[in-house]
């Protein structure tokens, strides 16, 4: 069974990968059909994940675990939104209300409280680990904030030149990190395509 699932994964992966490198209509069409299948399977897997979320929270309420009442709120909100969403469609004004009244305000409020939590994290960093790297990190963070912060008199004199100077170093480091991530992704992808890693089950 493990060999069959690995063959499925390797064949699907290779057919999609060929589409990147071989300029032929047949190869590209096959690659696009298989990619569409993966999109459909991924979407269905996400739906099953949402169904599982309902079961997990209903079980939490049934077993009277701490915070079980919050689970009831989650399940009710999920079922109501899904029900109306399936019937009316995501573009319906009622569904827009769910976005405007709940999703956007909560997302931006969560982002807003980062203002305090990031300051708190910086203070903790200085109290727990005072070394050269922490100092460089915080000095650069504060300097960049001062340089990009809008002031009543406009941009501070010389701030753009200083920002460009700091950015030369940060872009170098960022490029190194990006290349490292890409190399890691490449290696992980190759391990899946060679059947060394089998994240789909079967060790």
């Amino acid at each position: 069974m493990r060999v069959i699932t690995a063959t499925f994964a390797i064949a699907a992966g290779l057919l999609v990968l060929l589409g990147y490198f071989i300029d032929a209509d047949v190869v590209r069409t096959i690659g696009s059909i298989i990619t569409d299948w993966a999109i459909i399977i991924g979407a269905f897997a996400a739906l099953i994940g949402i169904i599982n979320l309902i079961f997990v929270h209903m079980e939490k309420f049934r077993a009277r675990q701490p915070g079980g009442m919050y689970s009831v709120i989650l399940v009710l909100a999920l079922i109501l939104t899904t029900g109306f969403g399936l019937l009316l469609g995501p573009e319906n004004p009622f569904m827009r209300l769910a976005i405007d009244a709940i999703i956007v305000p909560v997302e931006s409020a969560l982002m807003a409280i980062l203002v305090i939590t990031l300051i708190y994290a910086s203070i903790r960093l200085l109290r727990r680990r005072v070394d050269l790297m922490s100092v460089i990190f915080l000095v650069i963070a504060i300097s960049v904030l001062i340089l990009i912060m809008p002031t009543p008199i406009g941009q501070l004199p010389g701030s753009q030149q200083l920002l460009d100077f700091v950015n030369t170093f940060s872009r170098g480091g960022a490029r190194g990190l990006l290349l490292g991530i890409a190399l890691g992704t490449l290696l992980t992808g190759l391990r899946v395509l060679f059947g060394i890693d089998r994240p789909y089950g079967g060790n």
């Binding site: 109501l80 700091v166 170093f169």
Partner: protein
């Protein structure tokens, strides 16, 4: 009561519930986050149904073209095997669908990493040393800038090189050259994260200003000011 007013009122209440986290984790904050997770998961489910499953799966299943029908039946069967993943005893049935997902995901990630990051970033690093059309001063400035960026890139990559030989006392130790490169890489990474931190902080500050101004506007509207 208009829809806009209702959205504003609910948004104001939820914002206050989320801000209550600043005095510590509390039931009001949890209420808002659970409600948020429920609504956003429900919205995601509706969007998946209407934007992916209906056009890509259910509409072709109703097609009279046998090729289209066949191309839709296969993913339809694979999708239903995923339900087996909810039952541990027969969960292996869902492995075929997961294998296609993992294979396509790996190929897409591989192609994306090579064509979207490795090649363009390497070309951009080389591009810094293209001095054509620049006068002497500009060329020198660009050369220095390119050299600093290249040093940063190489050193940051070197920081993640963990191969080491054994020291006489048995502890793993990198050689002195790689140790120096890794130290320099750490400095560049600290500068990069400092800059990223500042960017994230500015984004959070913008969100805070937007939330506060929308709250003030709503209260002013309510009071008729």
């Amino acid at each position: 009561m208009s829809i806009d007013f209702l959205a504003g009122l609910v948004g104001l209440i939820l914002t206050l519930l989320i801000f209550s986290y600043l005095i510590g984790d509390n039931p009001l904050f949890r209420l808002a986050t659970y409600l948020f997770i429920g609504v956003s998961s429900g919205y995601a489910a509706a969007a998946i149904w209407h934007y992916v499953l209906i056009p890509k799966l259910f509409n072709p299943l109703r097609s009279s073209d046998p090729t289209q029908l066949l191309l839709a039946v296969l993913p339809f069967i694979l999708c239903f095997t995923l339900f087996a993943k909810l039952l541990p005893r027969i969960s292996w049935i869902g492995n075929f669908a997961m294998a296609i997902l993992a294979g396509v995901g790996a190929a897409t990630a591989l192609g994306g990493a090579a064509l979207g990051t490795l090649i363009p970033q390497s070309l951009a690093a080389m591009d810094m040393f293209d001095l054509r059309g620049l006068d002497r001063a500009q060329a020198f400035a660009r050369l220095v800038q390119g050299a600093i960026m290249l040093a940063g890139t190489v050193a940051a990559l070197g920081y993640f090189q963990f191969s080491a030989s054994r020291a006489p006392d048995g502890t793993p130790k990198r050689n002195a050259f790689f140790e120096g490169v890794a130290w320099l890489g750490k400095v560049f990474i600290a500068i990069t994260f400092g800059t990223l931190f500042a960017g994230v902080y500015m984004a959070a500050l913008t969100a805070m200003i937007e939330r506060l101004s929308s709250m003030i506007n709503f209260i002013r509207q309510l009071a008729g000011i």
